[in-house]
Symmetry: C2
Subunit: 112 residues, 2 copies
DNA sequence: CTGTTATTTCGATAATCGTTGAATTATGGA
DNA sequence: TCCATAATTCAACGATTATCGAAATAACAG
């Protein structure tokens, strides 16, 4: 539960949210730190700091590959966060913001 | 878009997340500040600070009623946040964590 | 007006945050 | 070995945060 707060805090910062979005777009494979640095124009030490936050929050994984360190988004954790928000912060009320595609047509109310 | 960061930051704090959840449970009607203070055992000035954060983030509304001030969760904003996360932080990948109730049965793929 | 209840505002404080420059570690190539 | 590349760690900094006690404001009752 305080898990959620940590994850929220990790995403509640512009650069960090950008980093995470970048990694999401990079796919399961992930991307080396340097590529993220180049893509977002962030100095490597600042980036290291943010990566660490995301990692501690369980939102990304890190693995070494040659001299690069590859970071990858942890989709499961993101799903868990969204699930938490959906269940705890909209309770009872219609909330699920309609899946992006294939949403059901509104059903006509059946008269008594 | 930086809207999302503000909303995330507003929820990225234990007491504040509790406050928001309390208001969500209170329903559209909302609840007076004092009731939240009692329910969560928080000093009123600290609570004021947190209410303000949530209000600025667009996550709650405030209206005066007699001597009380009634705060209410803004479900639409929460939906918008969840929508943002669903679309921007899981892009392409299966992500929507299955609506709590009434979820559609999985459709059998139609063979060519 | 006076007093009471409900809440906010103000000033101060300790803690945490995001960024920076400089130094450091780790890997691989010549 | 020596050098270059990729990334992290460290110390410092100004800025923001969450909390507190005390004072102020708002609405109502007598």
């Amino acid at each position: 539960m305080s898990d959620a707060v940590v994850a929220l805090a990790a995403l509640a910062q512009n650069n960090r949210l950008d980093v995470f979005r970048f990694l999401v777009q990079a796919g399961r494979e992930g991307a080396p730190a340097g590529m993220v640095a180049a893509g977002l124009d962030l100095p490597p030490n600042t980036l290291s700091f943010h990566f660490d936050r995301l990692r501690v929050a369980g939102l990304v994984t890190a693995r070494r590959e040659g001299r690069s360190i590859i970071y990858a988004a942890k989709y499961e954790q993101m799903n868990a966060l969204i699930a938490f928000l959906t269940q705890n912060c909209c309770q009872g009320v219609q909330c699920t913001p309609a899946p992006v595609e294939g949403q059901a047509r509104k059903r006509r109310k059946i008269p008594a």
